[in-house]
């Protein structure tokens, strides 16, 4: 994972597929990035040549498809993602990566608890694929059925997948953190051997972090921040955290995007 691995690849888009309302899966041929990427790492994509939009957009790596294809699952938000969605297979984009620190799954885990909110599912799909040992429980929350991204095919070691929607239009009704809380309350005997891996909106991550503290279960979260360089050069992507127990700003692109939940100052977010 040394910096020398970071590459700026002029990559061919090999496919685009609609996965849910306003959500697309894009396959990008970036063999250099595909070769070394680990779950939780991200890429910075220049959505088109020219000066507007100016900055690259950060996206988690959602998976690797052999040979050399990087998968990105993205949601339409503004102009950049709109432009991305109009790119046709065969066209090229510039992709910088793999960037940042990914998840560090604890190989001794008997149970990995994967918790996602909305598009935050992207890095967890890659993580689920790469988990080798133990068993995983995937809890994926969405607003309603139209946003649901099917993960059944994505996870090799997940016998249990919970889909949760806020309006109950698919799967269980409620918040994904409710399901997590129930599991943690129920499975007292397993707590010592479980870890949580989470990605989603800040309010969800806050709740996950507080549950992890309450039940003493280690937790890694993937965070977001507006970015310019993605390389640790501009200091733009600061989040309030702790370094060596002292308050400090951490940088999502270099210190993260995956952090131990205890290193973030949630009260300042």
């Amino acid at each position: 994972m040394s910096k020398a691995c970071v590459m700026d690849e002029n990559s061919e888009v090999v496919f685009q597929r609609k996965m849910a309302d306003g959500v697309f899966l894009m396959g990008i041929e970036s063999p250099g990035i595909a070769a070394t990427a680990i779950p939780g790492q991200f890429v910075m994509i220049r959505v088109r040549d020219g000066l507007d939009p100016l900055l690259r957009r950060p996206f988690s790596i959602c998976g690797i498809r052999e040979p050399g294809v990087v998968l990105v699952l993205y949601m339409l938000v503004g102009e950049g993602t709109q432009i991305l969605s109009r790119i046709l297979p065969g066209e090229r984009i510039s992709v910088l990566g793999p960037l940042g620190r990914g998840f560090k799954p604890d190989e001794k885990d008997s149970r990995a608890l994967l918790v996602s909110g909305g598009i935050g599912i992207a890095p967890l799909i890659f993580l689920a694929r790469r988990l080798r040992s133990g068993e995983a429980l995937f809890m994926a929350g969405f607003r309603s059925s139209r946003q649901v991204i099917q993960v059944r095919s994505a996870c090799l070691v997940c016998p249990e997948i919970y889909i949760v929607t806020e309006d109950g239009s698919e799967g269980e009704r409620g918040l994904v953190t409710d399901i997590l809380a129930e599991r943690l309350k129920g499975a007292a005997s397993e707590r010592g051997r479980s870890s949580i891996y989470a990605c989603g909106p800040v309010p969800m991550l806050k709740k996950v972090a507080s549950l992890s503290k309450e039940f003493g279960v280690p937790c890694q979260v993937s965070m977001e921040a507006h970015m310019a360089c993605g390389l640790g050069a501009c200091q733009g992507c600061a989040v309030p955290g702790k370094r060596a127990l002292a308050d400090a700003y951490l940088h999502v692109c270099k210190d993260g995007p995956v952090f131990p939940a205890g290193n973030i100052r949630w009260e300042s977010l």
Partner: protein
Amino acid sequence: MTEADLGVEIAGVKLKNPVIAASGTFGYGEEYAGLFDINSLGGLVVKGISLKPRQGNPPPRIVETPCGMLNSIGLANIGLDAFVKEKLPYLSGLSTAVIVNIYGHSIKEYAELAGALKGLSGISLIEVNISCPNVECGGMAFGTDPDMSARVTDAVVSRADLPVIVKLSPNVTDIRAVARAVEKAGASAVSLINTLTGMAVDLGRRSPVLGNVIGGLSGPAIKPVALYMVYQTAKSIGIPVIGMGGIVNYRDALEFIIAGASAVQIGTANFINPRAAVEVIEGIRQYCETNAIARISDLTGSIRA
């Protein structure tokens, strides 16, 4: 065809070409080293260093604007001691000119920084940031007043054992007055422009987007303003001008050189294209060869006006 001479000299320091990576956009060099051979640059300016480490401003610190971006980093940096211990060993092994950008809260701090850099190997030039708009008690106040700018310059020049570049703020009524003042106070060169003060509003929350409310605008959006200031300044002082502001390709760089710059810095473009600076160097080389220009320095200030 003979190869064009891209070498330039700034205050007696020879640069292999006129293209320098700008402060705050290139980290401490290492960050980009895996992406291209950074020794091919004419030079690189490190992130602004202060006496003590600085955490910087509350997030969000970055917002994209049409053809540009606002930043309110707040001069977050590792501080002088850590810079010398952790970053300088790497930098001093490079074969490109290393320029250390410094920033203080008071004239005394500027002078102390210049003194602390004395005798260290691996540094070619000092660039004094008197223009950062982000820190209330410092930057802005010095750079907007010719007299204060001159006092900072004098304090640094008298303590430093390296030539001093003073980096000018565009957030002034007449940049020439500041340029003349720092020239008189002993600056060996000036660099301009730093970012233009601006802000962005979040309509949904009816609040400023940046945690610090205001930020500095950079990128292609500021190029015409920067070009004009370089043009004006170069005509009114005798020391070299290093031009920057929105340069993304070799054509932009040449425009600055023709307007009066002896060298250029590349900032925001590094974020969009990490190879921007090398591509600018290559483009300048080809332009010189195509147009039979023997020395890039012949183009400086060659504008027909």
